[in-house]
């Protein structure tokens, strides 16, 4: 145990995800020795993120206002919604520059073991958005694992007969990956899910 302030810092850091007691100690002593300007910048960043950043009312992505940058952008196609698990998935898809529609961030995936059901995800908000009638296509881009697949199945059933086109992001071999290095499970699934290529 250290003197009050140091121990408080270690305790607070230790509560962060992915930081163990040893890591917390290392960060704390790093901060103690750091330039006070650096520390001030960190403190400002922390305060700002809490003060300014919030979740978009519409899509659930991180935002600086009521609407996130994407939802507020009039050039984005409001008739297509891509459903993802986390804000980081939005970033990943944006990087591809393939998609010009808007997003809906669920905040996770269905996983009974972790006590997460549809009620704990932003499913109801999605239904409300669809009720407006403007949306024509929903692209489900949950993770290609069991929980993501279950969430995708749940959503596609829910959306089955409300008059929107529902698609699922093609899963299987990682894009840009080498067939040679794909593991057998992925490769096996890719074979099962193979589609006819129309010439």
């Amino acid at each position: 145990m250290y003197e009050g302030a140091v121990q408080d810092l270690i305790d607070e850091l230790g509560r962060l995800p992915g930081v163990g007691p040893k890591g917390a100690q290392r960060i704390a002593f790093h901060l103690l020795q750091a330039d006070s300007d650096d520390v001030t910048r960190l403190v400002t960043a922390l305060t700002e993120v809490k003060a300014k950043v919030r979740f978009c009312d519409l899509c659930g992505n991180v935002a600086q206002a009521e609407r996130c940058r994407i939802c507020a952008d009039p050039r984005r196609d409001q008739t297509a919604i891509c459903v993802v698990e986390e804000p980081k998935d939005v970033v990943a898809i944006e990087r591809t520059r393939e998609f010009r529609g808007t997003y809906h961030v669920l905040g996770g995936a269905i996983s009974p073991i972790d006590g997460i059901g549809p009620d704990d995800l932003r499913v109801r908000e999605l239904m409300t958005r669809l009720a407006s009638g403007d949306v024509q296509e929903v692209i489900i881009a949950t993770d290609p694992n069991l929980e993501g697949e279950a969430t995708a199945t749940y959503l596609s059933r829910l959306l089955r007969d409300i008059g929107v086109t529902v698609t699922r992001l093609a899963s299987g071999l990682p894009v840009g990956g080498d067939l040679e290095y794909a593991d057998e499970v992925t490769l096996g699934r890719a074979f099962e899910g193979r589609r006819r290529v129309d010439a």
Partner: protein, 464 residues
């Protein structure tokens, strides 16, 4: 294929060990508790990433050590591949193939294939259904490593589904009737119940999809295995016993009856069967909070003539039955691969009468590599010991009893890339100190009392 060299570090009782092996029969003889099974267990681990004795990795690591290393040089078609596994309990194992690390340990599956028969396998006949399911599933993975992923997906689906049945039990039990899609404005309880039922449907769907694949694969495997089982059982017991294995499915009666009669319905029929049965048992599942339908609830019924083996077969008959299953598995893999897996027979001969011993010896004479352990050398038929190497295992050290490995006449000539070593090598690499007076000891290692002594291990000759 065969294992040309085995290296152990902190595996079971061995601080370090180097063992040179050859094609043909190798017999390890020694008193109880000297480390014979530990050696062949390591070979099995390289092939399956699991032990035939324990479900967790902790007991595999030498008491007091943090991690164990098992390395094997595997020769197939004149080509040698090095497989190495680093076993660290509580953490993911690491694996290397040749010189490069692989992304996941399961990527090494298939490099070495073994069929291992040990006293524990008696539970195939006498034990719970889970033992027989594991036998089929392990064999599936040996045949096609991709099943390892399907199997773990399936296990996760069952766990998720059970968690849902338990957590949603209170909501699900309220009210009856068909589920309705949740809509905004529903009463909270109705809405929660509808959502839970829909989530359950989703998991049913996944259980049916993955479960039917696993079931289909098991049924085809069993169909391929059954003729060999009868032949191998009869060959060992010199009788015409009609040893059979039939699949007992948890699906609804009419489908289960077809499956029990040896039919293999197609995957779609099985998938529909799972869904239909799930619909039938829904109320019971919600009541009990467990998944009652699917390959995780199935069994394989073994029978001799008109009687079930479990509860009726004698000790020797049960033993021969388990042996018959393993020999059938060996034949199946041999056919599939166009190559022999490594056959391991741990303590098998002591349990068999002399006729069965000799007939088993005849059956395995043409296998590329056989590793045999026995507490009493005389239990192993002379023909096997004459044509191969015999080693004495004592306190974790191995010394040859026969001066030179004599290749059996049926063995192919060893390739230049994989020379058969007439004199086995010494265990200097891992710093093992030779305490043997034999200069051509195939193997050297010490138990316990060496450098790096850990607390709690003062007892020399460790824990017998």
């Amino acid at each position: 294929m065969y294992v040309r060299h085995l290296t152990l570090k902190d595996f079971r009782s061995y601080p370090s060990a180097e063992l040179a092996l050859t094609q043909g029969v190798t017999t390890l003889v020694g008193l109880n508790g000297q480390g014979k099974t530990n050696l062949v267990e390591a070979v099995g681990y390289l092939a399956t990433l699991g032990s035939h004795r324990v479900a967790t990795d902790q007991p595999l690591v030498r008491f007091g050590a943090a991690q164990a290393i098992v390395r094997g040089a595997v020769v197939r078609d004149h080509r040698e591949t090095m497989v190495e596994l680093e076993i660290t309990p509580g953490r993911a194992n690491r694996a290397r193939l040749g010189r490069s690390p692989v992304a996941r340990p399961r990527d090494v599956l298939g490099t070495l294939r073994t069929v291992l028969f040990a006293p524990e396998d008696l539970s195939l006949v006498k034990g719970d259904p889970s033992e027989r399911r594991r036998f089929l599933d392990d064999l599936l993975v040996q045949r096609q490593p991709r099943w390892s992923g399907v199997r773990s997906d399936y296990d996760k689906i069952v766990k998720q589904r059970n968690a849902l049945l338990k957590s949603a039990a209170s909501v699900l039990r309220k009210g009856r009737g068909a589920p309705r899609r949740p809509r905004p404005g529903d009463e909270p309880v109705d809405e929660a119940r509808a959502a839970a039922l829909h989530t359950l449907d989703v998991w049913n769907d996944h259980l049916a999809t993955v479960g039917s694949q696993l079931l289909y694969a098991r049924l085809r495997l069993l169909r391929d295995l059954v003729p060999d089982l009868a032949e191998c059982y009869d060959a060992v017991s010199a009788a015409s016993s009609n040893a059979r294995a039939t699949y007992r499915s948890s699906l609804h009666e009419s489908l289960a009856a077809r499956i029990g009669a040896g039919e293999v319905p197609d995957v779609d029929a099985l998938r529909q069967g799972v869904l239909d049965t799930l619909a039938e048992v829904r109320a019971t599942e919600i009541e009990r909070g467990v998944s009652l339908v699917g390959p995780h609830r199935d069994d394989v019924v073994l029978s001799l003539g008109d009687l079930p083996a479990k509860g009726y077969a004698s000790h020797g008959e049960s033993w021969s039955f388990a042996l018959g299953l393993k020999l059938a598995a060996y034949r199946l893999l041999r056919r599939d691969l166009g190559d022999d897996p490594v056959l391991v027979l741990d303590d098998v001969f002591a349990e068999l009468d002399s006729g069965r011993r000799d007939r088993l010896a005849g059956l395995i004479a043409d296998c590329e590599q056989v590793l045999i352990t026995a507490a009493v050398g005389a239990d192993v038929p002379d023909v096997l010991r004459e044509q191969g190497m015999t080693y004495a295992v004592e306190l974790g050290e191995v010394h040859p009893l026969t001066p030179q490995p004599v290749p059996s006449p049926s063995q192919p000539v060893p390739s230049p890339s994989a020379p058969r070593e007439p004199n086995a090598v010494f265990g200097s690499e891992s710093g093992g100190i030779p305490v043997s007076s034999e200069t051509n000891a195939a193997f050297t290692s010490q138990v316990g009392e060496q450098e790096g002594e850990q607390e709690g291990e003062q007892d020399e000759g460790s824990g017998r």
